[in-house]
Protein backbone atom coordinates (compact mmCIF):
# COMPACT_ATOMS: atom_id res chain seq x y z
CA UNK A 1 0.00 0.00 0.00
CA UNK A 2 2.80 2.38 0.95
CA UNK A 3 4.66 1.88 -2.31
CA UNK A 4 1.51 2.75 -4.26
CA UNK A 5 1.07 5.94 -2.25
CA UNK A 6 4.69 6.81 -2.90
CA UNK A 7 4.38 6.30 -6.65
CA UNK A 8 1.20 8.34 -6.85
CA UNK A 9 2.78 11.07 -4.75
CA UNK A 10 6.01 11.11 -6.74
CA UNK A 11 4.17 11.15 -10.06
CA UNK A 12 2.16 14.13 -8.83
CA UNK A 13 5.28 15.94 -7.61
CA UNK A 14 7.21 15.34 -10.76
CA UNK A 15 4.56 15.70 -13.41
CA UNK A 16 1.56 17.27 -11.68
CA UNK A 17 2.00 20.62 -13.41
CA UNK A 18 2.37 18.99 -16.83
CA UNK A 19 -0.71 16.86 -16.28
CA UNK A 20 -2.70 19.83 -15.04
CA UNK A 21 -1.59 21.98 -17.96
CA UNK A 22 -2.75 19.30 -20.42
CA UNK A 23 -6.08 18.90 -18.58
CA UNK A 24 -6.78 22.61 -18.56
CA UNK A 25 -6.14 22.53 -22.30
CA UNK A 26 -8.83 19.91 -22.67
CA UNK A 27 -11.52 21.22 -20.33
CA UNK A 28 -10.70 24.95 -20.45
CA UNK A 29 -11.53 25.36 -16.78
CA UNK A 30 -8.91 25.58 -14.02
CA UNK A 31 -11.20 24.54 -11.18
CA UNK A 32 -12.68 21.63 -13.08
CA UNK A 33 -9.21 20.44 -14.10
CA UNK A 34 -7.88 20.65 -10.53
CA UNK A 35 -10.89 18.81 -9.09
CA UNK A 36 -10.75 16.14 -11.79
CA UNK A 37 -7.04 15.63 -11.13
CA UNK A 38 -7.66 15.17 -7.42
CA UNK A 39 -10.41 12.65 -8.24
CA UNK A 40 -8.02 10.80 -10.54
CA UNK A 41 -5.32 10.59 -7.85
CA UNK A 42 -7.82 8.97 -5.49
CA UNK A 43 -8.85 6.49 -8.18
CA UNK A 44 -5.19 5.69 -8.82
CA UNK A 45 -4.68 4.85 -5.15
CA UNK A 46 -7.66 2.46 -5.29
CA UNK A 47 -7.09 0.80 -8.64
CA UNK A 48 -3.31 0.38 -8.60
CA UNK A 49 -3.44 -1.62 -5.40
CA UNK A 50 -5.67 -4.09 -7.26
CA UNK A 51 -4.34 -3.92 -10.83
CA UNK A 52 -0.71 -3.03 -10.12
CA UNK A 53 1.21 0.12 -11.00
CA UNK A 54 0.77 1.04 -14.68
CA UNK A 55 3.73 1.27 -17.06
CA UNK A 56 3.10 4.97 -17.63
CA UNK A 57 1.61 6.35 -14.40
CA UNK A 58 1.25 9.96 -15.56
CA UNK A 59 -0.55 8.99 -18.78
CA UNK A 60 -2.88 6.77 -16.75
CA UNK A 61 -3.67 9.64 -14.36
CA UNK A 62 -4.24 12.07 -17.22
CA UNK A 63 -6.75 9.78 -18.89
CA UNK A 64 -8.47 9.04 -15.59
CA UNK A 65 -8.70 12.77 -14.90
CA UNK A 66 -10.34 13.35 -18.28
CA UNK A 67 -12.96 10.73 -17.43
CA UNK A 68 -13.54 12.34 -14.05
CA UNK A 69 -13.98 15.71 -15.73
CA UNK A 70 -16.67 14.22 -17.94
CA UNK A 71 -18.39 12.78 -14.85
CA UNK A 72 -18.32 16.15 -13.11
CA UNK A 73 -19.67 18.01 -16.12
CA UNK A 74 -22.56 15.54 -16.40
CA UNK A 75 -23.48 16.03 -12.77
CA UNK A 76 -23.47 19.81 -12.82
CA UNK A 77 -26.10 22.31 -13.93
CA UNK A 78 -26.67 22.83 -17.58
CA UNK A 79 -24.99 25.89 -18.98
CA UNK A 80 -24.37 26.25 -22.71
CA UNK A 81 -20.65 26.57 -22.13
CA UNK A 82 -20.45 23.35 -20.12
CA UNK A 83 -22.43 21.46 -22.73
CA UNK A 84 -19.99 22.56 -25.37
CA UNK A 85 -17.04 21.35 -23.31
CA UNK A 86 -18.78 18.08 -22.46
CA UNK A 87 -19.57 17.41 -26.10
CA UNK A 88 -15.99 18.09 -27.14
CA UNK A 89 -14.67 15.79 -24.42
CA UNK A 90 -17.01 12.96 -25.41
CA UNK A 91 -16.04 13.28 -29.06
CA UNK A 92 -12.36 13.15 -28.10
CA UNK A 93 -12.99 10.00 -26.07
CA UNK A 94 -14.74 8.34 -29.02
CA UNK A 95 -11.85 9.19 -31.29
CA UNK A 96 -9.31 7.79 -28.86
CA UNK A 97 -11.26 4.52 -28.88
CA UNK A 98 -9.15 1.47 -28.28
CA UNK A 99 -5.92 3.46 -27.85
CA UNK A 100 -3.50 1.94 -25.38
CA UNK A 101 -3.59 4.17 -22.27
CA UNK A 102 0.02 3.42 -21.50
CA UNK A 103 1.43 4.74 -24.78
CA UNK A 104 -0.07 8.17 -24.62
CA UNK A 105 2.50 10.81 -23.89
CA UNK A 106 1.26 14.00 -22.34
CA UNK A 107 1.85 17.02 -24.52
CA UNK A 108 3.69 19.75 -22.67
CA UNK A 109 1.18 22.56 -22.39
CA UNK A 110 2.93 24.34 -19.56
CA UNK A 111 3.91 27.31 -21.71
CA UNK A 112 0.24 27.93 -22.47
CA UNK A 113 -0.45 27.66 -18.77
CA UNK A 114 2.23 30.24 -17.92
CA UNK A 115 0.80 32.75 -20.38
CA UNK A 116 -2.75 32.15 -19.17
CA UNK A 117 -1.80 32.69 -15.52
CA UNK A 118 -0.18 35.99 -16.47
CA UNK A 119 -2.86 37.25 -18.84
CA UNK A 120 -3.33 41.06 -18.69
CA UNK A 121 -7.07 40.66 -18.08
CA UNK A 122 -6.20 39.36 -14.59
CA UNK A 123 -5.15 41.75 -11.85
CA UNK A 124 -1.43 41.64 -11.12
CA UNK A 125 -1.81 40.18 -7.64
CA UNK A 126 -4.04 37.49 -9.14
CA UNK A 127 -1.40 36.71 -11.78
CA UNK A 128 1.22 36.30 -9.08
CA UNK A 129 -1.00 34.11 -6.88
CA UNK A 130 -2.21 31.96 -9.77
CA UNK A 131 1.31 31.40 -11.10
CA UNK A 132 2.54 30.31 -7.68
CA UNK A 133 -0.49 28.11 -7.13
CA UNK A 134 -0.81 26.42 -10.50
CA UNK A 135 2.78 26.29 -11.70
CA UNK A 136 4.61 26.61 -8.41
CA UNK A 137 2.52 24.11 -6.52
CA UNK A 138 2.38 26.34 -3.45
CA UNK A 139 -0.70 25.94 -1.30
CA UNK A 140 -3.15 28.77 -0.70
CA UNK A 141 -1.89 28.98 2.88
CA UNK A 142 1.75 29.27 1.79
CA UNK A 143 0.98 31.99 -0.74
CA UNK A 144 -1.17 33.87 1.79
CA UNK A 145 1.63 33.86 4.34
CA UNK A 146 4.20 34.95 1.76
CA UNK A 147 2.17 38.05 0.90
CA UNK A 148 0.85 38.74 4.38
CA UNK A 149 -2.75 38.29 3.30
CA UNK A 150 -5.40 36.36 5.27
CA UNK A 151 -5.92 32.85 3.89
CA UNK A 152 -9.62 33.35 2.95
CA UNK A 153 -8.68 36.51 1.03
CA UNK A 154 -6.04 34.62 -0.93
CA UNK A 155 -8.44 31.73 -1.54
CA UNK A 156 -11.02 34.18 -2.92
CA UNK A 157 -8.38 35.82 -5.10
CA UNK A 158 -7.51 32.47 -6.67
CA UNK A 159 -11.13 31.41 -7.16
CA UNK A 160 -12.01 34.72 -8.79
CA UNK A 161 -9.02 34.50 -11.11
CA UNK A 162 -9.89 30.98 -12.26
CA UNK A 163 -13.50 31.96 -12.82
CA UNK A 164 -12.51 35.06 -14.75
CA UNK A 165 -10.38 32.89 -17.04
CA UNK A 166 -13.33 30.61 -17.66
CA UNK A 167 -16.11 33.20 -17.89
CA UNK A 168 -14.37 35.93 -19.85
CA UNK A 169 -12.96 33.53 -22.41
CA UNK A 170 -9.28 34.07 -21.66
CA UNK A 171 -7.73 31.77 -24.26
CA UNK A 172 -5.48 28.87 -23.35
CA UNK A 173 -2.72 29.39 -25.86
CA UNK A 174 0.67 30.83 -26.57
CA UNK A 175 -0.23 34.38 -27.62
CA UNK A 176 0.00 35.21 -31.28
CA UNK A 177 3.11 36.92 -32.65
CA UNK A 178 1.53 40.35 -32.62
CA UNK A 179 1.28 40.44 -28.82
CA UNK A 180 3.81 37.76 -27.86
CA UNK A 181 6.54 40.23 -26.93
CA UNK A 182 4.40 42.20 -24.49
CA UNK A 183 2.95 39.00 -22.97
CA UNK A 184 6.41 37.57 -22.37
CA UNK A 185 7.33 40.88 -20.71
CA UNK A 186 4.32 40.49 -18.43
CA UNK A 187 5.35 36.93 -17.60
CA UNK A 188 8.93 37.97 -16.79
CA UNK A 189 7.56 40.79 -14.66
CA UNK A 190 5.49 38.35 -12.58
CA UNK A 191 8.45 36.02 -12.10
CA UNK A 192 10.64 38.94 -11.02
CA UNK A 193 7.95 40.15 -8.62
CA UNK A 194 7.82 36.72 -7.06
CA UNK A 195 11.60 36.68 -6.71
CA UNK A 196 11.69 40.13 -5.14
CA UNK A 197 8.98 39.23 -2.68
CA UNK A 198 11.13 36.37 -1.49
CA UNK A 199 14.38 38.27 -1.64
CA UNK A 200 13.68 41.68 -0.15
CA UNK A 201 10.67 41.11 2.07
CA UNK A 202 11.50 41.27 5.73
CA UNK A 203 8.24 39.66 6.81
CA UNK A 204 7.04 36.11 6.52
CA UNK A 205 9.10 33.10 7.46
CA UNK A 206 12.60 32.53 6.08
CA UNK A 207 11.37 29.24 4.67
CA UNK A 208 8.55 30.66 2.61
CA UNK A 209 10.71 33.47 1.31
CA UNK A 210 13.34 31.01 0.16
CA UNK A 211 10.60 28.99 -1.55
CA UNK A 212 9.50 32.05 -3.50
CA UNK A 213 13.03 32.67 -4.75
CA UNK A 214 13.53 29.01 -5.61
CA UNK A 215 10.18 28.88 -7.42
CA UNK A 216 10.89 31.96 -9.50
CA UNK A 217 14.30 30.57 -10.48
CA UNK A 218 12.75 27.21 -11.37
CA UNK A 219 9.99 28.84 -13.41
CA UNK A 220 12.45 31.15 -15.18
CA UNK A 221 14.45 28.06 -16.17
CA UNK A 222 11.29 26.27 -17.29
CA UNK A 223 10.21 29.28 -19.32
CA UNK A 224 13.48 29.46 -21.26
CA UNK A 225 13.34 25.70 -21.95
CA UNK A 226 9.75 25.93 -23.17
CA UNK A 227 10.40 29.00 -25.33
CA UNK A 228 13.29 27.19 -27.02
CA UNK A 229 11.14 24.06 -27.40
CA UNK A 230 8.50 26.11 -29.20
CA UNK A 231 11.17 27.85 -31.32
CA UNK A 232 10.21 31.27 -30.00
CA UNK A 233 13.83 32.36 -30.21
CA UNK A 234 13.18 36.09 -30.24
CA UNK A 235 11.86 35.89 -26.69
CA UNK A 236 14.69 33.76 -25.33
CA UNK A 237 17.39 36.41 -24.63
CA UNK A 238 15.33 38.39 -22.13
CA UNK A 239 14.06 35.23 -20.46
CA UNK A 240 17.71 34.14 -20.07
CA UNK A 241 18.46 37.66 -18.84
CA UNK A 242 15.88 37.33 -16.09
CA UNK A 243 17.17 33.90 -15.12
CA UNK A 244 20.72 35.23 -14.92
CA UNK A 245 19.54 38.22 -12.87
CA UNK A 246 17.70 36.19 -10.25
CA UNK A 247 20.51 33.63 -10.00
CA UNK A 248 23.08 36.37 -9.42
CA UNK A 249 20.92 38.14 -6.83
CA UNK A 250 20.18 34.86 -5.11
CA UNK A 251 23.89 34.06 -4.88
CA UNK A 252 24.16 36.81 -2.27
CA UNK A 253 21.27 35.77 -0.07
CA UNK A 254 23.38 34.32 2.75
CA UNK A 255 25.54 37.43 3.02
CA UNK A 256 22.72 39.97 2.90
CA UNK A 257 21.44 39.53 6.40
CA UNK A 258 23.61 39.92 9.50
CA UNK A 259 23.49 37.79 12.67
CA UNK A 260 20.91 40.08 14.26
CA UNK A 261 18.73 39.98 11.18
CA UNK A 262 19.96 43.39 10.07
CA UNK A 263 20.52 44.33 6.42
CA UNK A 264 24.13 44.23 5.28
CA UNK A 265 25.04 46.59 2.47
CA UNK A 266 26.68 45.18 -0.63
CA UNK A 267 29.99 46.90 0.16
CA UNK A 268 30.03 45.35 3.67
CA UNK A 269 29.01 41.81 2.74
CA UNK A 270 31.28 38.85 3.43
CA UNK A 271 31.89 37.80 -0.15
CA UNK A 272 33.08 34.36 0.89
CA UNK A 273 29.43 33.68 1.74
CA UNK A 274 28.32 34.33 -1.81
CA UNK A 275 27.21 31.14 -3.57
CA UNK A 276 29.86 30.58 -6.24
CA UNK A 277 27.93 27.91 -8.13
CA UNK A 278 24.95 30.26 -8.52
CA UNK A 279 27.31 32.98 -9.67
CA UNK A 280 28.86 30.62 -12.19
CA UNK A 281 25.47 29.59 -13.53
CA UNK A 282 24.28 33.19 -13.60
CA UNK A 283 27.33 34.33 -15.54
CA UNK A 284 27.12 31.53 -18.10
CA UNK A 285 23.37 32.11 -18.52
CA UNK A 286 24.06 35.78 -19.17
CA UNK A 287 26.71 34.87 -21.72
CA UNK A 288 24.23 32.64 -23.55
CA UNK A 289 21.79 35.52 -23.64
CA UNK A 290 24.29 38.08 -24.88
CA UNK A 291 25.41 35.72 -27.64
CA UNK A 292 21.95 35.97 -29.13
CA UNK A 293 22.63 39.67 -29.79
CA UNK A 294 19.25 40.98 -28.73
CA UNK A 295 19.94 43.24 -25.77
CA UNK A 296 17.15 44.06 -23.38
CA UNK A 297 16.59 45.47 -19.89
CA UNK A 298 16.81 42.18 -17.98
CA UNK A 299 20.10 41.36 -19.64
CA UNK A 300 21.46 44.79 -18.74
CA UNK A 301 20.33 44.42 -15.12
CA UNK A 302 21.94 40.98 -15.05
CA UNK A 303 25.16 42.45 -16.44
CA UNK A 304 25.21 45.00 -13.62
CA UNK A 305 24.67 42.25 -11.07
CA UNK A 306 27.41 40.21 -12.77
CA UNK A 307 29.93 43.04 -12.36
CA UNK A 308 29.25 43.05 -8.62
CA UNK A 309 29.47 39.27 -8.47
CA UNK A 310 32.83 39.26 -10.20
CA UNK A 311 34.47 41.75 -7.83
CA UNK A 312 36.48 39.87 -5.23
CA UNK A 313 36.50 42.96 -3.00
CA UNK A 314 34.28 46.05 -3.10
CA UNK A 315 37.30 48.12 -4.26
CA UNK A 316 37.57 45.90 -7.35
CA UNK A 317 34.07 46.82 -8.55
CA UNK A 318 34.03 48.21 -12.08
CA UNK A 319 31.90 51.27 -11.31
CA UNK A 320 32.46 53.11 -14.61
CA UNK A 321 31.14 50.08 -16.46
CA UNK A 322 28.19 49.84 -14.08
CA UNK A 323 27.42 53.51 -14.65
CA UNK A 324 27.55 52.93 -18.41
CA UNK A 325 25.14 50.01 -18.07
CA UNK A 326 22.70 52.13 -16.05
CA UNK A 327 22.93 54.70 -18.83
CA UNK A 328 21.98 51.94 -21.28
CA UNK A 329 19.12 50.85 -19.00
CA UNK A 330 17.86 54.44 -18.84
CA UNK A 331 17.76 54.45 -22.61
CA UNK A 332 15.67 51.27 -22.70
CA UNK A 333 13.33 51.80 -19.76
CA UNK A 334 13.68 55.34 -18.41
CA UNK A 335 12.66 55.77 -14.81
CA UNK A 336 13.66 58.08 -11.96
CA UNK A 337 14.79 55.11 -9.87
CA UNK A 338 17.16 53.88 -12.55
CA UNK A 339 18.53 57.42 -12.83
CA UNK A 340 19.02 57.39 -9.06
CA UNK A 341 21.02 54.17 -9.30
CA UNK A 342 23.03 55.64 -12.14
CA UNK A 343 23.87 58.69 -10.04
CA UNK A 344 25.07 56.43 -7.22
CA UNK A 345 27.26 54.46 -9.65
CA UNK A 346 28.72 57.67 -11.09
CA UNK A 347 29.46 58.88 -7.59
CA UNK A 348 31.40 55.65 -6.97
CA UNK A 349 33.27 56.03 -10.26
CA UNK A 350 33.90 59.79 -10.35
CA UNK A 351 33.32 61.06 -6.82
CA UNK A 352 30.34 62.22 -4.75
CA UNK A 353 30.07 65.66 -6.36
CA UNK A 354 29.44 64.14 -9.80
CA UNK A 355 26.74 61.92 -8.36
CA UNK A 356 25.15 64.85 -6.52
CA UNK A 357 25.01 66.89 -9.73
CA UNK A 358 22.78 64.18 -11.21
CA UNK A 359 20.63 63.83 -8.09
CA UNK A 360 20.01 67.56 -8.04
CA UNK A 361 18.16 67.41 -11.37
CA UNK A 362 14.74 69.03 -10.89
CA UNK A 363 12.89 66.11 -12.37
CA UNK A 364 14.39 63.66 -9.88
CA UNK A 365 13.72 65.91 -6.93
CA UNK A 366 10.13 66.14 -8.01
CA UNK A 367 9.52 62.47 -8.84
CA UNK A 368 11.39 61.02 -5.89
CA UNK A 369 10.58 63.56 -3.17
CA UNK A 370 8.61 60.93 -1.24
CA UNK A 371 11.09 58.11 -1.81
CA UNK A 372 13.28 57.62 1.24
CA UNK A 373 16.09 55.96 -0.74
CA UNK A 374 16.49 59.13 -2.79
CA UNK A 375 17.12 61.16 0.33
CA UNK A 376 19.28 58.42 1.83
CA UNK A 377 21.44 58.32 -1.32
CA UNK A 378 21.74 62.12 -1.36
CA UNK A 379 22.60 62.10 2.31
CA UNK A 380 25.34 59.53 1.74
CA UNK A 381 26.92 61.52 -1.08
CA UNK A 382 26.68 64.78 0.87
CA UNK A 383 28.38 63.08 3.82
CA UNK A 384 31.19 61.78 1.63
CA UNK A 385 31.59 65.22 0.10
CA UNK A 386 31.93 66.72 3.58
CA UNK A 387 28.72 68.74 3.38
CA UNK A 388 27.61 67.69 6.84
CA UNK A 389 24.82 70.21 7.36
CA UNK A 390 23.09 69.21 4.16
CA UNK A 391 23.77 65.54 4.92
CA UNK A 392 22.06 65.89 8.29
CA UNK A 393 19.00 67.45 6.66
CA UNK A 394 18.87 64.70 4.06
CA UNK A 395 19.18 61.86 6.63
CA UNK A 396 16.42 63.52 8.64
CA UNK A 397 14.22 63.66 5.57
CA UNK A 398 14.99 60.00 4.77
CA UNK A 399 14.04 58.97 8.31
CA UNK A 400 10.73 60.82 8.00
CA UNK A 401 9.85 58.66 5.00
CA UNK A 402 11.42 55.31 5.85
CA UNK A 403 9.13 52.70 7.40
CA UNK A 404 11.42 49.70 7.55
CA UNK A 405 12.80 49.19 11.08
CA UNK A 406 16.17 47.81 10.06
CA UNK A 407 16.80 50.52 7.51
CA UNK A 408 15.71 53.20 9.98
CA UNK A 409 18.27 51.90 12.44
CA UNK A 410 20.95 52.18 9.78
CA UNK A 411 19.92 55.72 8.78
CA UNK A 412 19.76 56.76 12.41
CA UNK A 413 23.35 55.61 13.00
CA UNK A 414 24.48 57.70 10.03
CA UNK A 415 22.55 60.72 11.31
CA UNK A 416 24.31 60.41 14.66
CA UNK A 417 27.70 60.17 12.89
CA UNK A 418 27.03 63.29 10.89
CA UNK A 419 25.67 65.23 13.87
CA UNK A 420 28.77 64.32 15.91
CA UNK A 421 31.03 65.43 13.05
CA UNK A 422 29.22 68.79 13.00
CA UNK A 423 29.59 69.19 16.76
CA UNK A 424 33.32 68.45 16.54
CA UNK A 425 33.67 71.25 14.00
CA UNK A 426 31.93 73.75 16.27
Amino acid sequence: MDTIQQVVSETYSREGDRILAALIGTVRDFELAEDALQDALLVALERWSVDGIPHNPSAWITTAARHKAIDRLRRENTLARKQVVLQALLEQEEQRGEEDLEDTSIPDERLKLMFTCCHPALALDAQVALTLHTLGGLSTTEIASAFLVPVPTMAQRLVRAKRKIRDAGIPYRVPEMRVLGERVDALLCVLYLIFNEGYTAMSGSELIRRELCDESIRLARLLTTLLIQESLYREVPEALGLLALVLLHDSRREARVGPGGELVLLEDQDRSRWDSSKIKEGLSTLERALHMRQPGPYQVQAAISALHAQAKHPEDTDWPQIAALYHELMRMTPSPIIELNRAVAIAMADGPLQGLALLDQTILKKELSDYYLFHAARADLLRRAGRMNDARDAYTQALKLCLNERERAFLHRRLVEVTEALELDD
Binding site: L79, R81, H119, A168, G169, P171, R178, V179
Partner: protein, 115 residues
Protein backbone atom coordinates in the same frame (compact mmCIF):
# COMPACT_ATOMS: atom_id res chain seq x y z
CA UNK B 1 -18.24 33.72 -27.57
CA UNK B 2 -20.27 36.89 -27.56
CA UNK B 3 -19.00 40.08 -26.02
CA UNK B 4 -20.59 43.49 -25.57
CA UNK B 5 -18.06 46.27 -26.12
CA UNK B 6 -19.10 49.35 -24.13
CA UNK B 7 -17.55 52.64 -25.12
CA UNK B 8 -16.99 55.09 -22.24
CA UNK B 9 -15.66 58.58 -22.72
CA UNK B 10 -15.48 61.96 -21.05
CA UNK B 11 -18.38 63.84 -22.66
CA UNK B 12 -17.13 67.22 -21.55
CA UNK B 13 -13.77 66.67 -23.25
CA UNK B 14 -15.51 65.37 -26.36
CA UNK B 15 -17.78 68.38 -26.60
CA UNK B 16 -14.66 70.53 -26.77
CA UNK B 17 -13.41 68.86 -29.97
CA UNK B 18 -13.22 71.08 -33.02
CA UNK B 19 -15.45 70.38 -36.03
CA UNK B 20 -12.49 68.93 -37.95
CA UNK B 21 -11.67 66.61 -35.09
CA UNK B 22 -15.28 65.45 -34.82
CA UNK B 23 -15.49 64.83 -38.56
CA UNK B 24 -12.24 62.86 -38.43
CA UNK B 25 -13.62 60.71 -35.64
CA UNK B 26 -16.80 60.01 -37.62
CA UNK B 27 -14.65 58.90 -40.50
CA UNK B 28 -12.62 56.64 -38.22
CA UNK B 29 -15.78 55.02 -36.90
CA UNK B 30 -17.04 54.50 -40.42
CA UNK B 31 -13.78 52.74 -41.32
CA UNK B 32 -13.96 50.69 -38.14
CA UNK B 33 -17.53 49.56 -38.95
CA UNK B 34 -16.55 48.36 -42.38
CA UNK B 35 -13.42 46.52 -41.21
CA UNK B 36 -14.89 45.03 -38.09
CA UNK B 37 -17.95 43.51 -39.70
CA UNK B 38 -15.62 40.89 -41.17
CA UNK B 39 -14.24 40.22 -37.70
CA UNK B 40 -17.60 39.44 -36.10
CA UNK B 41 -18.92 42.81 -35.00
CA UNK B 42 -22.68 42.79 -35.50
CA UNK B 43 -24.84 45.38 -33.88
CA UNK B 44 -23.51 48.73 -32.78
CA UNK B 45 -24.68 52.26 -32.17
CA UNK B 46 -23.61 55.62 -30.90
CA UNK B 47 -25.76 56.89 -28.04
CA UNK B 48 -27.04 60.37 -27.37
CA UNK B 49 -25.27 62.10 -24.48
CA UNK B 50 -25.91 61.09 -20.86
CA UNK B 51 -27.96 64.23 -20.15
CA UNK B 52 -30.67 62.70 -22.36
CA UNK B 53 -30.81 59.61 -20.15
CA UNK B 54 -33.67 58.59 -17.90
CA UNK B 55 -33.31 56.00 -15.16
CA UNK B 56 -36.16 53.73 -14.09
CA UNK B 57 -36.32 51.71 -10.88
CA UNK B 58 -39.26 49.71 -9.54
CA UNK B 59 -39.28 49.37 -5.75
CA UNK B 60 -42.16 47.92 -3.73
CA UNK B 61 -44.35 48.05 -6.82
CA UNK B 62 -43.69 51.76 -7.34
CA UNK B 63 -42.04 52.98 -10.53
CA UNK B 64 -39.43 55.65 -9.77
CA UNK B 65 -38.25 57.68 -12.73
CA UNK B 66 -35.27 60.01 -12.46
CA UNK B 67 -33.50 62.32 -14.86
CA UNK B 68 -30.00 61.34 -15.93
CA UNK B 69 -27.83 58.19 -16.03
CA UNK B 70 -27.94 55.54 -13.26
CA UNK B 71 -24.84 57.09 -11.64
CA UNK B 72 -22.56 60.05 -12.11
CA UNK B 73 -19.31 58.75 -13.53
CA UNK B 74 -16.09 60.34 -14.74
CA UNK B 75 -16.53 58.77 -18.16
CA UNK B 76 -19.99 58.18 -19.61
CA UNK B 77 -21.41 55.45 -21.82
CA UNK B 78 -21.35 56.73 -25.38
CA UNK B 79 -21.92 53.70 -27.58
CA UNK B 80 -21.63 49.94 -27.93
CA UNK B 81 -20.85 47.08 -30.29
CA UNK B 82 -21.84 43.42 -30.15
CA UNK B 83 -19.01 41.07 -31.06
CA UNK B 84 -18.93 37.39 -31.93
CA UNK B 85 -15.42 35.93 -31.71
CA UNK B 86 -13.36 33.03 -30.39
CA UNK B 87 -11.79 34.41 -27.25
CA UNK B 88 -10.86 37.41 -25.17
CA UNK B 89 -7.60 38.08 -27.01
CA UNK B 90 -9.57 38.61 -30.22
CA UNK B 91 -12.04 40.85 -28.42
CA UNK B 92 -9.17 42.89 -27.01
CA UNK B 93 -7.60 43.26 -30.45
CA UNK B 94 -10.87 44.53 -31.94
CA UNK B 95 -11.71 46.77 -28.97
CA UNK B 96 -8.34 48.45 -29.31
CA UNK B 97 -9.28 49.46 -32.85
CA UNK B 98 -12.40 51.36 -31.74
CA UNK B 99 -11.67 55.09 -32.16
CA UNK B 100 -13.09 55.76 -28.69
CA UNK B 101 -10.30 53.68 -27.14
CA UNK B 102 -7.78 56.44 -27.83
CA UNK B 103 -9.14 58.85 -25.25
CA UNK B 104 -11.80 56.81 -23.46
CA UNK B 105 -12.21 53.27 -22.14
CA UNK B 106 -13.75 50.22 -23.76
CA UNK B 107 -15.30 47.73 -21.37
CA UNK B 108 -15.40 44.17 -22.74
CA UNK B 109 -18.22 42.21 -21.10
CA UNK B 110 -18.86 38.56 -21.96
CA UNK B 111 -22.48 37.74 -22.72
CA UNK B 112 -24.01 35.08 -20.49
CA UNK B 113 -25.17 32.25 -22.73
CA UNK B 114 -27.83 30.02 -21.28
CA UNK B 115 -29.02 26.87 -22.96
Amino acid sequence: MRYLLLIYQDEVARSQLSEEEQAAEYQDYFTFNVESEKRGVSAGAALMPSNTATTVRVRNGKTLTTDGPFAETKEQLGGYFMLHCDDLDEAIEIAAKIPGARHGSIEIRPVLEIM
